[in-house]
Symmetry: C2
Subunit: 211 residues, 2 copies
């Protein structure tokens, strides 16, 4: 996934000649705590956060140019960078947003932390049930009931918890991937549990074929 | 995972009698765009964002009580809520942060979107190699080389791409889980690929045992 796939293209931008008062109203109305400052060619020339606005209003500054962060101090990402890079910058630097530039240095978007949250959290919200349905399709010749039975057996072996196939099925219908990796103690353990289930049903299938 | 595990406990808070000027300086210094307003018992009574501050400064308001969001309008989460809930609220409502309350209505923390980004992105940064190493351990009696060979075969079958076991190993040493699910077309597909690999090595192991 690239930065351009998660960026906000409908971003607000301002120029350095605008007044601090005017920009504060624009940012309040647009509900933006940060915004890029651009020149007439949409090149990035500065960055404004609400902190510069409150300070500027308090201290009687007039223009955005008097209070903005200069271009050199701004962390930005390129539209074709991996989205991962924007994610890392956001969390490491505790930014709420980062400007996105294209090859010509033109500001083409802004990546915001809650957009990243939305993108990342989609994965966590996938139902475990969907993963098992995909597994059933892959494991040809294994019925859904056999898969649930094997899952209950593997769970009993690993956790000591006395769970039935029916209970297991009910559980995965409710559970999300995020909950499952938390419950099993991490991504690797979750996958390894699934591999163990896959092995068990395959072994049973082989045994059945031999009879 | 619970809300209290991802919240910031070292949050800034203010009272409604403080002046807007004073609070704007506190929030600039603490680099916070939002902050809870509490009473003497740390109960939540309001919420301030930078937008109320710029508006208040512009319009000549004095006290926080004149400009804050009232308690009724504030979305909050409980410290024992699933972290998922804070994640969903943050992305759906495009909040940068949400106050966290305990059973007594006391503000005990703030969940910030970049903290969520950090937590969520850790999962994406796990190396695929680690998943295969866990798989190797689970698939007893299967060597690492056999696992890589099977992985290359499954990849060739599924994508038509002519990849060798060595190339596959190199690839998973570099790739993260986030890149892998993107490359395979989704979580289910990634996982089903692993199940297919598990089946193939198991089949080979069984065939070897029969000889």
């Amino acid at each position: 996934m690239k930065v351009k796939e998660i960026m906000d293209e409908e971003f607000i931008y301002i120029t350095q000649d605008q007044s601090i008062e005017e920009v504060s109203i624009i940012m309040e109305n647009g509900k933006k705590f940060t915004t890029p400052v651009v020149d007439e060619n949409m090149h990035l020339v500065g960055w404004i956060t609400s902190f510069e606005l409150t300070k500027g209003l308090r201290e009687g500054n007039e223009k955005i140019s008097e209070v903005m962060h200069s271009k050199d101090s701004i962390v930005h990402v390129h539209e074709n960078n991996p989205a991962r890079l924007a994610v890392l910058e956001t969390s490491h630097n505790k930014f709420v947003s980062i400007p996105v530039l294209n090859d010509d240095g033109v500001v083409v978007g802004v990546v915001r932390s809650f957009d990243i949250v939305e993108t990342l959290s989609k994965l966590y919200e996938i139902k475990v049930y969907k993963i098992f349905k995909a597994m059933e399709q892959e494991l040809k010749g294994v019925s859904w009931d056999e898969l649930m039975e094997a899952s209950a057996i593997v769970t009993r072996r690993r956790t000591g918890e006395n769970v039935t196939a029916e209970e297991y099925e009910f559980r995965i219908k409710e559970a999300t991937f995020g909950e499952a990796i938390w419950a099993t103690g991490g991504l690797e353990k979750f996958f390894v549990g699934l591999i163990a289930i896959g092995q068990l049903v395959t072994a049973k299938k082989v045994a059945r074929a031999r009879k």
